[in-house]
Amino acid sequence: EDQVTQSPEALRLQEGESSSLNCSYTVSGLRGLFWYRQDPGKGPEFLFTLYSAGEEKEKERLKATLTKKESFLHITAPKPEDSATYLCAVQAVGTSGTYKYIFGTGTRLKVLA
């Protein structure tokens, strides 16, 4: 069964304390892996798309990497404004040839000043 699992569920960091969030997936026919940021009471905001193993994308203090089984979102020297829920999603090809988009449950990140 296609599945996307994110860990940890929640993470508390001190300001400046770098860490990584994990997104592991088991899907057939991966078309892309997506990272989103979601603030409380808001819709998710697109961050990155990764298409193939070995690919990396960066945006400010965030860096996303992809392997054949998982993706990492590295946060370098985080600031309190980086506090949010980070969602991972994969797009895969279904058995009927249609695309399906599967979201993980997210990692709630809290950065303390």
Partner: protein, 113 residues
């Protein structure tokens, strides 16, 4: 630039009452449109998607329906709400099949009492 509008932001409705949530997109033509529901501690659940006017695909059998009367308008409805319909509803759009990611609206918090 493309924008997506979703309203209302919050809604409290009694059990058995009807529902209508509206979503409109600006700045793009022929978008793919999606309705998602997000429950606490769970991933985003795709409810409906539409690739064109009048074309609706349902992913989960439920008490809800969707319509797309215009190219950039997507409506989520119910004739009689259930307690289990409570949740955070998100509208999203994409170009193509979402291979470049989704753009989400700000969401509607629905509480059925």
């Amino acid at each position: 630039s493309q924008t997506i509008h979703q309203w209302p932001a919050t809604l409290v409705q009694p059990v058995g009452s009807p529902l209508s949530l509206e979503c409109t997109v600006e700045g793009t033509s022929n978008p793919n449109l999606y309705w998602y529901r997000q429950a606490a501690g769970r991933g985003l659940q795709l409810l409906f998607y539409s690739v064109g006017i009048g074309q609706i695909s349902s992913e989960v059998p439920q008490n809800l329906s969707a319509s797309r009367p215009q190219d950039r308008q997507f409506i989520l409805s119910s004739k009689k709400l259930l307690l289990s319909d409570s949740g955070f509803y998100l509208c999203a759009w994409s170009t193509g099949m979402g291979q470049f990611g989704y753009t989400f609206g700000s969401g509607t918090r629905l509480t059925v009492v």
